[in-house]
């Protein structure tokens, strides 16, 4: 009896497991009509983005009273884990704001999200350049549409700089000089986190890309850096700490605990005078200080004027779940969020400068194309930027960077050993996951 019971239980589990993975479920075909329905839309971001998006949803409901949108939103921390469990459990929202690397993680063969090229009756793609649309293509299928293209840039607390009579740095040397000047008063010119954002490694990569001209990882997931480049990046990071440009990992932990930098009393109180942040997400830092205090600074250059190495990527994209029962309605909503003039005015630059020409033109015509995201965008446009590989952004890769940075910061071992370990980890992992 026991044996029979166990066998039956195991057989039941195996049958259920064989249905694991949602690739087998049928995709609902578009029917060209907009039916009465309720859709779920999820996004992450700061309060500025939440407030603007909720306002945009009110406008949508006015225009489409038959299609109710249920918002699901929160901060970035833990968001990818939440979406990951929803996707694997076939309970993903109908429309999702997604991160660039999720395309590689969730849809390596292009079947992880709805193929938006089937929904062009509702979704107007004429507002997007072909190379911008390419960001969202996996295996030839349009899995997502880029909302904005953005890069990380420096944003400074203007009051602190005024107090020191200092101007924003334009070269790496000027940044290190500020570390000395401000350091004498216990102030750090910038800070970089090693949490989920991983800005510490990002800046080190920019520096090495600028000095060597080599791209860290290419779009196919091949490592462009040599082991020596990795070591240079780690040495550069260590120098930032040693010369009081940024806080050490230990100091940051002691002062902030596990809190994000924009919630740190040291940033809010002016002991940290600058941050490196995506133009599309800088709103949360801006809100933490008095209005107009945070200002965009220059993208740093080498001593001989080298300005390359700075990176851009689709800051966020919109995708439709392949399990949605209402693809037409989801596409119509996505079209509203991307192209609708009134919606664009409400959303402003809370997700960066819109990639949709219609939305961008609306903002320009209404004098709304301004602010930190715009300043950052303008500066990046003047540079010969590198497009970030989605493989660089993968969570496991970020864990490798952060772990290496932590070892260097704590002085657990020399940078040569850490560089060797990091290089081996990255090579092995990329070999496993890259195309």
């Amino acid at each position: 009896m026991n044996k029979l019971f166990l066998s039956l239980a195991a057989a039941g589990c195996i049958t259920a497991l064989s249905a694991c993975g949602s690739s087998s479920s049928a995709v609902t075909a578009p029917d060209g009509k907009l039916d009465k329905c309720t859709l779920r839309f999820s996004w992450w971001g700061g309060d500025d983005r939440h407030e603007a998006t909720l306002e945009a949803l009110k406008l949508w409901e006015k225009k489409h009273p038959d299609i109710t949108i249920v918002p699901e939103y929160g901060g970035w921390d833990g968001w990818s884990e939440k979406i990951s469990s929803q996707i694997s459990g076939d309970t993903a929202p109908d429309i999702m704001q997604i991160n660039y690397d999720w395309l590689v993680s969730f849809s390596p063969d292009g079947d992880g999200f709805y193929d938006l090229s089937r929904l062009t009756d509702q979704l107007d793609l004429s507002a997007f350049d072909e190379d911008v649309l390419d960001f969202g293509r996996m295996n030839g299928k349009l899995n997502a549409v880029t909302v904005s293209v953005s890069g990380r840039g420096f944003f400074y607390n203007s009051e602190v700089f005024r107090r020191f009579g200092a101007s924003y740095p334009e070269t790496w040397d000027e940044l290190f000089a500020l570390g000395k000047t401000m350091g004498e008063n216990g102030v750090y010119p910038i800070d970089l986190d090693i949490q989920s954002g991983g800005t510490a490694w990002y800046l080190a990569v920019v520096y090495v890309q600028q000095t060597t001209g080599r791209q860290f990882i290419d779009m196919e997931g091949r490592l462009g850096f040599t082991e020596e480049d990795v070591r240079t990046a780690l040495d550069f990071y260590k120098r930032l700490e040693d010369e009081h440009v940024i806080r050490t990992v230990k100091t940051r932990s002691d002062e902030d605990g596990n809190a994000a930098l924009y919630q740190s009393s040291k940033f809010i109180g002016g002991n940290v005078a600058g941050v490196l942040e995506w133009g599309s997400s800088v709103g949360k830092y801006e809100l933490a200080l008095d209005k107009g205090v945070l200002e965009a600074g220059a993208m740093l250059k080498g001593e001989n004027g080298e300005s390359g190495g700075w990176m851009i990527k689709p800051s966020v994209l919109y995708a439709v779940s392949k399990d949605t029962s209402y693809p037409d309605e989801a596409a119509a909503f996505m079209n509203f969020m991307l192209n609708d003039a009134e919606c664009a005015k409400i959303l402003g630059t809370t997700r960066g400068i819109p990639a949709s020409k219609y939305a961008e033109e609306t903002l320009e015509a209404n004098g709304l194309l301004e602010g930190l995201a715009h300043d950052n965008d303008e500066m990046l446009n003047e540079l010969d930027t590198v497009t970030i590989s989605p493989y660089m952004e993968m969570t496991r890769m970020k864990e490798f960077y952060n772990s290496a940075i932590e070892k260097v910061s704590y002085g657990e071992t020399d940078t040569e050993t850490v560089a060797h370990e990091l290089y081996s980890q990255m090579s092995r992992y990329l070999e496993k996951v890259a195309k």
């Binding site: 589990c13 694991c20 990951s84 469990s85 932990s253 002691d254 002062e255 605990g257 809190a259 704590y410």
Partner: protein, 297 residues
Amino acid sequence: MKKHNCRNPVGVSRYTGLWLITPFIAGFAVFTLYPFISSFLLGLTEYDGIHSPEFSGLYNYKEMLSDSGFRQAVWVTLKYTFLLVPLKLAVSLLTALLLNAELKGMGIFRTVFYVPSILGSNLAVVIMWQFLFTSGGLAEQLTGMAGLEPVSWYGEPDSAMFMIILLRLWEFGSAMIIFLNALRDIPAEYYDAAKVDGCGSVRAFFSITLPLLGRVMFLNLVLQVIAAMQEFSAPYMLTGGGPMNGTYTIGMLIYDEMFRYHNAGYANAVSWVLFVLISAIVTVLFAVTGKSRREDI
């Protein structure tokens, strides 16, 4: 018409009992048995949580042997368990002894002491801990007043672990309630008789209270060991497993592998290793305390 007799006094059908326990059996099958067996089977596959799993035999278990992150997580979890559990038992027993005194308003104290256990390691508590233990916080002020050097609570692996232990110690309510109930079950006559024979309160504690609490002590020990070995939420929210993975428990590793790295096959295999580890520790505890527990009966 059902027959009423001695063996069937209320005249129910022979299947009624089965029907009555069906909701429990169904819940157990769906929420315990199914995940239990399926996690074992998934541990034998390569599975990203999205596509169909592919059978890979013992690959995940072999991977674990060479995974330094896994070894570190096992070490951290064991260290945490062996530090926390004795401390928690001591604190909860001591508090239970104090709250066992028959004083006016003791009910209020018993409620108040249980409150931290209801709060758990939620976000508000985590923020409170952050205020207490970051630089300039209350902990630093207290150590300063005592003339001690400030402790780097978040910045050093050992002190970060101690901070998490303090959070869990603060939630001693459940263990305390179990002790308190057991204390109230000890007949007062034992103490009266001992007092007549000239026994002091310390001697009475070691010769009467502690021996009579043996089985309850064992119950609390097993419950606390299981909870500590499965620790996830406190380090996840307080330290993120850092610094230097010094608070990175097996629970955090399972979560990360499952939801952050999409390595569900490996996560399930690690869950089974955790299950075996907990079973082994509990078995050892049963074996070591076997004789004294039998004597209690």
